[in-house]
């Protein structure tokens, strides 16, 4: 059961690596992606399910493990029906032991399987921090290239609705500091499917961050299989007055802001980064060369956040093109409050982005 024996994704090529007997599949990323337009409208959660199911049909080494993923069909119904299709040996209900089953996945991945681990919420990954930050990103390095750790960890990240301080983590603000993992944060069903399929076939560990608030979002998702490359931003809006960079759920607020600003003749380039590591600085630099202004929208806390990193890389690589200092829009710098009005103010939103862009363009 090597990738060689498991059929390759259509058009993919097999790449050898000493750490992976049988090699790994690299999809054909030169092939243009299918249209985002169409009438095959499904939910974000269904897009995730399709991505996992398609890959699991192809490769029996893949299994899904997590709390309530099987009999309960997933706390958020992402894995609905997968137990019936793949059986209890591949869709596995685990006890509430995140550190234990995350570590189990590391061992299983080293042995040669391809685990997908669902954290009911990334907030609960803190009890597994040692496994996912010490073993997962460093195994290849510590073993001098003998073993990688091809596990996809996925689940809800960021504020749900009034879930309070312990259940609203944006772990990317912490975990992105650590070299050795790829971090994906999709904003819509189309991307979610294409990026999760890429994550599953990728031979390196991937942290895949979803949002409870978007699982019900609907959009066209093509019938055909497609893989979206990591590190290539998507541009839902075009404009030459200001660049707005975001990822995950706040992309929607950025788009709302762009549409509102357009009415006042302010044209905004909205970049959905899709992945944080890799971070598509090429697209950001290309954009600010035109706009000379940038606003970064990040739904995690500000201090030493990904927004800080984007500001820093823009300064390092695009200082001379800037007519105004980069502006970041983060959540407020407090534990996530429960009260509806406090939480609403705490999170990034359209108005905050509009105000930031206006500051940047000076009107």
């Amino acid at each position: 059961m090597t990738t060689a024996t498991a059929p390759l994704p259509p058009g993919a090529t097999l790449v050898e690596h000493p750490a992976l007997p049988g090699g790994y599949a690299v999809p054909d990323f030169d092939k243009p992606l299918p249209s985002r337009e169409g009438d095959r409208i499904i939910q974000f959660r269904e897009a995730l399910r399709e991505a996992m199911s398609e890959e699991m049909r192809r490769d029996k080494r893949i299994f899904l493990m997590g709390e309530e993923v099987a009999q309960y069909s997933g706390a958020y119904k992402v894995s609905q029906g997968m137990l019936e299709e793949f059986g209890a040996k591949r869709i596995i209900d685990s006890p509430i032991s995140e550190n234990g089953f995350a570590g189990l996945a590391v061992g299983a991945a080293m042995y040669g399987l391809r685990p997908i681990i669902e954290f009911m919420s990334w907030s609960f990954s803190l009890v597994a921090a040692d496994q996912i930050l010490n073993n997962v990103p460093k195994m290849l390095y510590m073993s001098g290239g003998q073993w990688g750790c091809p596990v996809v960890f996925r689940g809800n990240d960021g504020a749900g609705g009034q879930l309070g301080s312990t259940h609203s983590w944006c772990v990317e603000g912490l975990y992105a500091n650590v070299p050795g993992v790829k971090i994906v944060i999709p904003s819509n069903p189309y991307d979610a499917k294409g990026l999760l399929k890429t994550a599953i076939v990728d031979p390196d560990p991937v942290f895949f961050l979803e949002s409870e608030r978007m699982l019900g979002d609907k959009a066209h998702v093509p019938e055909e299989e497609y893989y979206i490359p990591f590190g290539k931003a998507w541009k839902p809006r075009q404009g030459d007055d200001c660049t707005v960079v975001s990822w995950g759920r706040p992309v929607h607020f950025a788009v709302e802001a762009a549409d509102a600003l357009k009415e006042d003749g302010i044209n905004v380039d909205v970049l959905d980064m899709r992945t944080i590591r890799p971070l598509d600085m090429d697209s950001i630099l290309e954009s600010i060369k035109r706009t000379n202004r940038i606003v970064i929208v990040d739904q995690s806390w500000p201090f030493a956040s990904i927004a800080s990193e984007v500001v820093t890389q823009v300064i390092e690589r695009g200082f001379d093109w800037l007519d105004h200092q980069p502006i970041r829009v983060n959540t407020d710098d407090v534990p996530t409050p429960y009260a509806k009005n406090l939480e609403a103010h705490y999170l990034p939103n359209k108005d905050k982005i509009v105000a930031a862009v206006r500051r940047a363009v000076g009107r």
Binding site: E68, I96, G160, G164, H167, Y338, N341
Partner: protein
Amino acid sequence: MSHATAEPDTSMTQATQNQNQLASQKLPGDTLIQWLRDMLLIREFENRCAQAYQQAKIGGFCHLYTGQEAVAVGTIQSLNHDDPIVTAYRDHGHALARGMSVEACMAEMFGRLNGCAKGKGGSMHMFDKPNWLFGGHGIVGAQTPLGTGLAFAARYEWEVLNQSVTGGEAKKKVSLAYLGDGALNQGALHECMNLAGLWDIPVIYVVENNGYSMGTAIGRGTTMADDLTKKADAYGIRGEIIDGFDVIDLYNEFKPLVDWCRENQKPAFVDLKTYRYLGHSMSDPQKYRTKDEVEQFKGKDSIDRLASRLMGEIKGENGQPVLSEDRFKELQAEVREQVKTGIEAAEAGEMSEVDAELYSDVFINPLPNMSPIRDYTHGAKNPLL
């Protein structure tokens, strides 16, 4: 469901073996009636919670205690008022049993300033300092080391400080750390149970074993589900299995255990059999169990059971049952009224002002330059303090 068939008798405590000295026999009838009232209060409160949640007056996760009332009431009544307790997110029952007002509890879920945590915590975070409730907590198992630390500190008071931390007299205390059966499989519990066994920390780990962790029947997630005392044996901790469907029997088992832990300053572990009638949280199709099973357990309802005992076998001086049909009806009416007025008071509370509250309660001693966004402040005083 395996856990329901376990035999409480296998591990009876002294007290229950010598029937002549049942702890409950020392209690006046009015006390037992008060317990019934507390249980009715919790039941009514949770019913109104469900309504409020449907009306979207409550947000986030909301885990109701309906069915487990005897556990909070029976265990808390076995304590002194200043024995500290800590629990998980299914915490409304503990808050009310400990004496939190309906207003403070409901206002918290309404996200208002008159809530016990000023609306910053929500349903999963019921904190009540005057009543020694050190919080509901949202991360499964994470409250168990806290409960261990509370007992550690209480022991430190009389062993090291020779006075209480507030200057008063130090006394021997016990703490209760409540957890669900699903929390048994978190590393945090393992680590603190070893500490408790090693250092004789007077904490009692109360497993509110309602048989399910969300949709996972205990046997599907937890080894030795049929004899959880094995989990206690691993740390040399006294373990008991107690039936939680009759609050008087529960008290007769649990109170002597509390006294033993207090006197000997040792930890204990209790597999407390109970059952939740409603879903895990407000959104739960409950495909994992049959209606029959739920009905079966409702047949053992702890409120009905206590009411019938008080209206039957349990007699007062006058040889009459301590509780009359009419008094019972009154109690139910009182409780309905209490919850109704409490909710009205909760709704009358103010929403917090963003500028005053968002950046307050982050630091006791806020300093300049803590945040790139703005300075932290002090907000409104907590209504319970």
